[in-house]
Assembly symmetry: C2
Homo-oligomer: 369 residues x 2
């Protein structure tokens, strides 16, 4: 393997794939990044076996070939390369390569490419194209509600349900739920229902910046996202996603219409006074406003937010972190908050339609403060 | 106490003083920031008793007075305030204040201002004005060489020696030394010789951005820096600074003239391969260049940097972190490196003059790699 490239391209490709590399992999070769060089193209691949990211950049190839570079060194080193041509050459019959730049060189020990196994995509059942910008937005709108608790894998994923040409994404950690619908350019006959790992969607959102559209393919146990130069392949999560429909309240006894940013600012200020073991604020629906109150040994905050309120005037306790999360996740000017009582789930929707919905389970205060 | 202000001014003043506050102070009142309001001026003060920072901003005063606000809450809260008028009022006969903004309010528990003791400056022996930009630069040039080891306080400080109108700043942790001379607008009769805590100069450099000039006063055991709105008062460090003159090499057997940035880039790349327990690189003076070589189990790097070299051709080991530190500290295009042998200190100076000088003690490699 021998090729010529430049700092910017190398850094770009490494940044794309490096987040899929697991530095803790029991297989040392998988702590590295695979470089495969062919026909004036260089393909970099990182994988933790669940998630695999590849990125292809143009290079000038002299000798095709492949080698695995240790991820940490090649990442840090590429950032410190000088501008100008970079030559990378594998030393024959070894797992070592020489990186030449200016008058200097780095001889780096790596791994044999033959030992680097890349999961392969089994042909997809469905394929569609989606705008990168929209995909980024919908991921942000639901992912906050997914759990980090690896002991219950289903809750760490995002349900993707496709019926006809509507995809519904749902995430929940049982304390809150977020749901976002969007139409896609495909029409499926049978309902598709898969659970995508949260990490996969996070990484997908991260690398979307560089591409206008992204192609998505869903297979039996895998999902694949493809931009012009980058491919993300991920396993799906096995298991049954909880039937979320039954937790969506059908009616409400109180309806609040409020500016999202005013409410978020108020909730963020209130969050300063809560303590970790009791992160609750009380949310009070009044005639022309809502109050968010919180009290601690350090003082008390009373936030008054102008709002249109209809129906019951009630008080409900929320975990203020969960309230802030849902408000930060979406970019609507005004939202509805629909309540049915102090102890039943609250629903947040945009005023403009039903594409997005979030459910917040109210908290019960330990003491009546 | 009752006054009106706005978010920007409050945030500015808090940022200025907050770094002097010790959150671990055994006196709870000193974990706070003193607010003193008088004649349409608000003075904020933070102190850990060694270092005291005050900042004064204009406000609209309704009732003069003072109170201590808990630093953590007032800092975080001020950042989340809405734009517009902010009203702060101390609640009579209490240590609580109400902060009003929009239709909302924060009632915050604080401390009695009478319990907040501020060190006072005993009149200065000498006073001079210096440009903020220059002071910032000279602090950066020497402070990296100061030690963090609190068990030897003298080495955590910067020696300031003033003779006639020349101030010499010196820092050393015994492994390296940095010295910077500058002329000041004063003429002292007797040599002045004080040790300023490194932290004081770091904080001074940090807050200099807002002011063109800074006034410096040196007292018996204190130093004071004053900008238009901010005052930094610090104790000096007691003790005898080591007599640094005797470690400055008088001659050299090898002279290297090199572009600072080329050498820094090379040293930074080489630093990637060193390990913490053996952070050494070998620095080889050759005919028209210098080599920086490093070898580890992960590979080896050979950096070749064009240089004008005169005299002995020698090899010397450096701690690469120390080499990078000195190169990063100064903003010269070209430097001289003056060497007298493989086991004697090396000297770095700008090509343009002798205002700055740094000494690097060479390292002895554990094994001959």
């Amino acid at each position: 393997m021998k090729f010529f490239s430049n700092k910017e391209n190398i850094i770009y490709a490494i940044q794309m794939v490096q987040r899929a590399v697991s530095m803790k992999s029991p297989l040392p070769v998988l702590t590295g990044i695979l470089f495969e060089c062919n026909d004036n193209m260089l393909k970099l691949t990182g994988t933790d076996t669940d998630l695999t990211i590849s990125c292809t950049i143009p290079v000038v190839t002299e000798i095709p070939g492949a080698m695995v570079f240790p991820s940490r060194y090649i990442t840090e080193f590429s950032r410190k390369l000088p501008d100008g041509d970079i030559e990378i050459e594998k030393i024959k019959d070894s797992n070592m390569a020489t990186i030449r730049y200016g008058q200097s060189e780095f001889n780096i020990n790596g791994y044999n490419a033959d030992n680097f196994s890349i999961p392969e995509f089994q042909s997809g059942e469905i394929e569609f194209i989606i705008s990168s910008e929209i995909l980024k937005e919908v991921i942000k709108q639901v992912i906050f509600a997914a759990s980090n608790d690896e002991t219950r894998p289903v809750f760490t994923g995002i349900l993707a349900e496709i019926e006809k040409n509507i995809m519904t994404l749902v995430a929940t950690d049982t304390f809150r739920l977020a749901l976002r619908k969007l139409s896609i350019d495909v029409n499926v006959e049978n309902l598709i229902n898969v659970i995508i790992p949260g990490k996969t969607l996070n990484e997908t959102a991260r690398i979307l910046g560089s591409s206008k559209d992204i192609t998505c393919q869903i297979g039996k146990n895998q999902i694949l996202f493809k931009t012009d130069d980058t491919v993300i392949l991920s396993r799906l999560i096995n298991g049954r996603f909880p039937s979320y429909r039954q937790v969506i309240p059908e009616n409400h006894s109180a309806l609040v219409k409020v500016k999202l940013n005013s409410l978020l600012d108020a909730a963020e200020r209130a969050s300063l006074l809560v303590v970790e073991r009791n992160p609750l604020v009380v949310f009070i629906v009044q005639d022309n406003n809502i109050l968010i109150n919180v009290r601690s040994e350090n003082g008390w905050i009373r936030e008054k937010v102008p709002a249109e309120t209809n129906g019951e005037k009630l008080e409900i306790y929320f975990n203020v972190k969960y309230l802030c999360d849902v408000l930060r996740s979406c970019n609507y000017e005004e939202i509805y908050i629909k309540l049915t009582g102090a102890y039943t789930p609250a629903m947040v929707t945009p005023v403009t339609g039903d594409e997005f919905m979030s459910i917040l389970v109210p908290a019960r205060p330990a003491r009546n403060e």
